[in-house]
């Protein structure tokens, strides 16, 4: 039960009410005071003071001064009138409750509104700051642009100047040269006269620019002969034999791919050397049938002729001999596709892809084929999304292949079709 503070004293004027509340030793903080239009509460546990005011006050402008064990309220009345008493008399419990709640609600609303207003002003300030910075930056940028532009214009002018004086100089030079040569080589002129005429006549009607260089051209007959006597004879033909730093791949060398290329080569070398076979089973095989490459070729031939089961057998045997050659799995996957053993096709393509790491340009073709075969198998099993994934992987490796693109499009349509209908 709170302890009610009842020893308050008050005075009033026409516009204001002065209320003094002794606190009996309790410490008051601004948080302990709650005031709304018609309700005033001071709560310092365990002390409590509340008053339902006689008439509404302007709670935003009213003040409370805390000090000397006392709270001194200055409440400004909304309507200037003399109050009969500080509080409303005969306030029943319900009304009191209602008033209390209302007051709280009103206070909350007010708080919310204040917050809103604060937010808005903050935003406006931000916007203003932003605009100001933008203007500054814009000015800076413009200044730089102007500098550049000035530079550009200056340079353009210089260029024009150079060009003009240069073309004049050129013409002048070529005319001078001709005159000099004519003077120097009188006897030669007789011999060259015919030649000169032949060249000059077609030039009669040429444009200005061509004339410039042909003038130079007719000079060259004279100067060329002079110069030729000074030039050494053509070199004696010879050949220099060259050795190149060895490189396994036909593509150009890049440092960043060297590590991957090494890995791939190493793997291939390893794969060739593996002979994981159980000799006892294979004793009755001919020598050539124990060679995985020969078996692969046999399998390829059978595939080409349409004997898919035979091809599968050949590849199976080859795999038993050497299970690290990716091409065996790749080709076996193609056979399974033809035989409609779709799950086996997927398995084999996956195994091939595993063995075709790291991805280098050398095994690009093989990887594209593996993805396409696996994609086809998925699609035939109606697992279109997986199929599309594989087709897209194939496209990533070889973006220019039109067939893969077309098929990928078809699958996309299929997926969209099934989604719409379901």
């Amino acid at each position: 039960m709170p302890v009610w503070l009842r020893e308050h004293s008050w005075r009033q004027t026409l516009t204001a009410v002065h209320l003094s509340l002794p606190l009996r030793g309790a410490r008051a903080t601004p948080a302990s005071i709650f005031c709304s239009e018609q309700y005033l509460k001071v709560s310092i546990p365990p002390f409590l003071f509340e008053a339902v005011l006689y008439a509404p006050i302007d709670d935003t402008n009213s003040t409370a001064k805390i000090g000397n064990g006392n709270i001194f309220f200055t409440l400004y009345k909304k309507e200037p009138a003399m109050w009969d008493s500080l509080t409303l008399k005969n306030v029943d419990k319900e009304k009191l409750q209602y008033l209390r709640e209302n007051a709280i609600l009103k206070a909350q609303e007010k708080a919310k509104e204040e917050m809103e207003a604060k937010k808005i002003t903050k935003q406006e300030h931000k916007k203003y700051a932003l605009e100001a910075t933008m203007k500054l930056e814009e000015a800076e940028r413009k200044r730089i642009e102007d500098l550049k532009e000035k530079e550009r214009q200056k340079v353009t002018e210089e260029l024009e100047l150079w060009k003009n004086q240069h073309t004049d100089g050129d013409k002048y030079k070529s005319i001078q040269k001709k005159r000099e040569l004519h003077q120097e080589i009188e006897p030669l002129k007789e011999r060259k006269n015919e030649k000169l005429n032949k060249i000059q006549i077609p030039n009669e009607g040429t444009s200005k620019t061509r004339l410039k260089s042909t003038k130079g051209c007719s000079c060259s007959i004279f100067s060329q002969n002079l110069k030729e006597e000074q030039l050494p004879a053509p070199r004696a033909a010879a050949t220099i034999k060259v050795n190149f730093t060895p490189r396994v791949f036909p593509t150009a060398l890049r440092e960043s791919r060297v590590a991957e290329e090494e890995e791939w080569l190493h793997k291939q070398a390893e794969a060739r050397r593996i002979i994981n076979s159980d000799l006892s089973e294979l004793e009755d095989l001919k020598e050539e049938e124990k060679n995985p490459d020969w078996l692969k070729d046999k399998g390829n031939k059978m595939f080409a002729m349409g004997d898919y089961l035979g091809a599968v057998n050949a590849y199976n045997l080859a795999v038993r001999l050497n299970n690290k050659l990716p091409l065996l799995y790749l080709n076996r996957a193609a056979c399974h596709l033809k035989l409609r053993n779709l799950h086996k096709a997927i398995e084999d393509s996956s195994k091939a892809l595993e063995l075709l790491t790291p991805p280098v340009p050398d095994n690009e073709n093989a990887r594209v084929k593996a993805h396409v075969r696996r994609g086809t198998a998925f699609c035939q099993l109606e697992l279109y999304t997986e199929g599309l994934q594989d087709y897209e992987a194939a496209l990533k490796i070889d973006p220019r292949n039109k067939n893969i693109e077309k098929d990928a499009e078809k699958i996309r349509h299929l997926i969209q079709g099934t989604m719409q209908s379901s």
């Binding site: 550049k148 240069h166 033909a237 050949t239 190149f244 730093t245 890049r254 440092e255």
Partner: protein, 359 residues
């Protein structure tokens, strides 16, 4: 980076010209404000276009179409009066054209079995001494040197040993042509090999491997005692070799820099200052570099033989012009800072690099 430091050279884009074909090489016509674009049209024929710089635009003066796409060209072996263009095309043909009468080539030979990737010329344009010669490097793994006065057979042929598998030659460059006898050819291959051939002795003078395909090599000057060689490669790396001191086993000293994330397609030295060069990259960017020499260019190693000391390279400026690789670059020999570059976005751009005098 572009605006910082008022004293840094700026790369100003002067003119941009959209083309209707793929441009593989662009070259300034010496002693003029004209430039050539060489490339391949969509229908598989070769195109040579001659433009003239007029104010802020390029005016097309002439267009020449040839049966095979053209990969590269040079004016290096022709005299200043003649200004004949030597081109290498996709079929392995080396042709020299008089641009005034381009119907019949002045010189023609089917030099290689596959595309000529790179071409260079020396002995012309009043630069250096000695016979005019053209070198071509091809995908068939051979590097051949031609003299325009000798038909059909090359004067030097660098080919793989019998039975050896070939590597593509991606780039060639002449150097060391400081008198009538001396000359070297440097060739870069797709497996990272760089080989230096001495044409006076007809022998292999030096070789090394830089672990990435070599896209472009260039000496800082063709007509002096060989001073520096820049080799650019795939994966954004380039090496600058100091060619003054050759160690018997270690070869030439070098400094390398990894600049751009992508292939560096071309390197070109500024004709007016041999310590400044520009590299063009696969990401459409251009980087301008300056080489600084070390305090001492050579020192003695533990056995007493001379070995070179490489200097350092600093980046002066970089700019991104395109989203596609800039595959060709050429400085104008007449106006300092003027350059043209061609990119695979079918655009040729004329650029001006400012403040090069202050370096």
């Amino acid at each position: 980076a572009a605006a910082g430091g008022a004293e840094r050279p700026q790369v100003v884009s002067h003119v941009q010209q959209a083309l209707s074909y793929t441009v593989f090489d662009c070259k300034w016509v010496p002693r003029s404000a004209r430039l050539l674009c060489l490339g391949s049209a969509a229908r598989g024929t070769g195109l040579v276009q001659l433009y003239e710089l007029h104010g802020a635009r390029l005016e097309l003066l002439r267009e020449i179409e040839k049966p095979k796409p053209i990969k590269c060209g040079t004016f290096g072996a022709t005299s200043l009066q003649q200004r004949y263009l030597a081109t290498g095309d996709f079929d392995g043909n080396l042709n020299i054209w008089n641009l005034e009468a381009p119907e019949i080539p002045v010189y023609s030979v089917k030099g290689h079995k596959e595309i000529i990737n790179s071409i260079d010329g020396v002995g012309g344009l009043g630069i250096g001494e000695g016979a005019p010669e053209i070198v071509t490097g091809s995908r068939d793994g051979t590097v051949k040197v031609w003299d325009p006065r000798q038909n059909d057979t090359p004067v030097a042929n660098m080919e793989p040993v019998q039975g050896e598998s070939k590597r593509d030659c991606w780039t060639v460059a002449f150097g060391n042509a400081y008198n009538q006898e001396e000359r070297v050819v440097c060739a870069g291959y797709d497996n990272g090999d760089i080989k230096l051939f001495d044409l006076k002795n007809m022998s292999l003078r030096w070789e090394t491997n830089i672990k990435n395909g070599v896209c472009s090599v260039e000496f800082d000057r063709k007509d002096i005692n060989m001073n520096k060689l820049v080799a650019t490669s795939l994966e954004g790396k380039f090496h600058v070799f100091d060619m003054r001191t050759q160690h018997p086993t270690k070869g030439f000293a070098s400094v390398s820099e990894k600049a751009q994330k992508s292939t560096i397609w071309q390197v070109r030295h500024l004709p007016q200052n041999r310590d400044i060069f520009m590299t063009s990259g696969g990401s459409g960017s251009l980087h301008l570099w300056k080489y600084e020499y070390p305090a001492q260019r050579s020192k003695k190693d533990s056995e007493g033989s001379e070995m070179g000391v490489a200097g350092s390279v600093s980046l002066l400026q970089n700019v991104t012009l395109s989203t596609q690789p800039i595959s060709s670059l050429d400085w104008s020999p007449d106006k300092k800072g003027l350059c043209v570059c061609g990119a695979f976005d079918q655009t040729v751009r004329v650029l001006i690099v400012t403040k090069l005098n202050k370096i």
